[in-house]
Symmetry: C2
Subunit: 141 residues, 2 copies
């Protein structure tokens, strides 16, 4: 199932309407190479002759984020589609400082250990956000 198909299914199942702006934003994020800000998406649309209100884009992005269909990439300041679909656990990112390549992954053991360390400090962790920077396969050596 493609990202857009999966996202549209998720929206419908949760009772959200499948509107034109939502489709457009999903398409933009599906096709994007890297993280896009709501602003970027608006500009891109404008460039293609289509118009989408800036505020609407913000609202759509927020919705998609809350449904975990897209993630914010903090170190890059933008949003990307979630590539792991229904996989449980906290999603993490590897961000290449060479080419900017972004890879999403997931690791239960890491998640568990992260929570344990927090526990030792008296903190009850519910969610972790992790981004690692370094060099991807292609940019090493």
């Amino acid at each position: 199932m493609s990202f857009t198909e999966y996202a549209e299914k998720s929206l419908r199942e949760k009772g959200y309407k499948l509107t034109k702006p939502r489709r457009q934003v999903l398409e933009a994020i599906e096709k994007a190479e890297g993280p896009m800000s709501p602003y970027d998406i608006g500009k891109m649309m404008e460039g293609k002759g289509r118009h989408l209100d800036q505020v609407t884009i913000y609202r759509v992005i927020n919705l998609l984020c809350s449904l975990n269909l897209v993630h914010k990439v903090f170190s890059r300041g933008g949003y990307v589609r979630c590539d792991l679909q229904e996989e449980e656990g906290c999603h993490r990112f590897l961000v290449c400082r060479g080419c900017g390549h972004l890879q999403e992954y997931r690791d239960e053991a890491l998640c568990r250990q992260e929570s344990q360390v927090a526990q030792k400090l008296g903190f009850q962790a519910e969610h972790h956000v992790t981004e690692s920077s370094g060099l991807c396969k292609d940019c090493q050596g």
Copy 2:
């Protein structure tokens, strides 16, 4: 050694000048309760009758960040002083969703494991940024 003392020492040692704006920003960040944006710092200054140019604040913050004297807290959108001083390894944050309390910590094993998992994916990690959200001691139960 206080944060400001440590920071001023670091700046001097690395050949950076100890200017009035830098002192002021350091003082502001030292005293701040939580994360402050450059904009916040400017406003706070203005409130105290002192004036500091916005652009200068950005530049000082960037410098302090690059020296690891302050960290950006992504999930909160602001900068805080680093509480771990010269301790090596990646600094992580626990962010309480109840009271907003922020705790910085460090865990070598976690860092190592994180890098190992990345390695398995062909990625050579150099630095990790992690923020966990959940409930601090006081906000549990």
